[in-house]
């Protein structure tokens, strides 16, 4: 059964032209730079014109990395448990 939380395949971006591996990474870097402008714009909007942007970005980044840490820990837990189960099953 389809997972309703995963966006349908038709919403996934498709590249209209074939890119080399290096071109893909260059495109990724462009995307990073563009999305960063939106991010900074959003943070500036939240803190107002007089707000301390570097401080707000550092705080945002810390929060992001806390979530990231949970993901990495979860990934390693899953991997460790599943490999152990696999060893026991053999």
């Amino acid at each position: 059964m389809a997972d309703p939380q995963i966006p349908p395949a038709r919403f996934s971006p498709l590249n209209s032209r074939p890119l080399s591996l290096s071109q893909r990474v260059a495109a990724w870097f462009e995307l990073m730079e563009t999305s960063e402008q939106f991010l900074l714009g959003g943070i500036r909007h939240r803190i107002g014109p007089e707000g301390d942007l570097p401080h707000a970005v550092r705080r945002w980044y810390r929060q992001q990395m806390e979530q990231h840490d949970q993901t990495m820990i979860g990934l390693l837990e899953q991997l460790g448990r599943r490999e152990r189960d696999c060893r026991h099953a053999q």
Binding site: A2, L31, I73, L75, E83
Partner: protein, 195 residues
């Protein structure tokens, strides 16, 4: 700012690792982009094979290049798998970028490291090992968040003709990820059975 800081941190890490001559493979946003799916990333995630070397030696070596442990003790062991979390502040940046070095301790990680592909990264101007698409899909399934599952579905769909499905299904079977895989397969290819 952030994108340049991430690229700069990756570049500096690769430079620092170079003299150690250890196999490594990038796993995060760079890896996703290599396999034709784009999304922003905020940190550097690397799979690293350290062989018989002590993790402490690696950390001390990287310390000489300005990388600092994020936590004390610096090596986190989870279900037998180790990860070293570092932070680095590139010149001209105003925040510490996080770098996660996942040590290739387990059979899957060792397999993924041995199957890495070499890519020349414009952003870092050097050859870099990147995890293969099949292994990236497995990592996404293990991470399990909604966004990771969406990434996995997109990676399968976009790279369908190039993926080594036999290899992918073997690790799906070994790691008991069959149900998860079937779900993302049906999202990627509605109405098609896994084949």
């Amino acid at each position: 700012m952030l994108s340049e800081a991430v690229a700069s941190s990756l570049r500096h890490l690769l430079h620092a690792l170079h003299s150690l001559n250890l196999p490594s493979a990038v796993m995060g946003g760079v890896a996703v982009a290599t396999w034709n799916h784009f999304r922003a990333t905020k940190d550097v995630d690397v799979l690293l094979g350290i062989g018989g070397q002590e993790a402490g030696e690696i950390i001390a070596h990287l310390g000489r290049f300005g990388f600092r442990p994020k936590r004390d003790p610096p090596v986190l062991t989870i279900e037998g798998n180790r990860i070293i979390q570092l932070v680095y502040q590139p010149p001209d940046a105003f925040l510490d970028i996080q770098l996660d070095l996942m040590l290739a301790d387990s059979p899957f990680q060792q397999s993924a490291l041995s199957r890495r592909v070499s890519v020349r990264l414009p952003a870092v101007d050097q050859e870099v090992g990147v995890v293969a698409c099949e292994d990236l899909i497995i990592l996404k399934l293990l991470a399990g968040r909604m966004i990771d599952r969406a990434d996995a579905a997109a990676l399968i769909r976009i790279n369908r003709n190039e993926i080594d499905l036999e290899h992918l299904l073997e690790w799906v079977r070994r790691l008991g990820l069959g149900d998860d895989f079937e779900e993302i397969w049906h999202e990627a290819f509605p109405g098609e059975s896994v084949s």
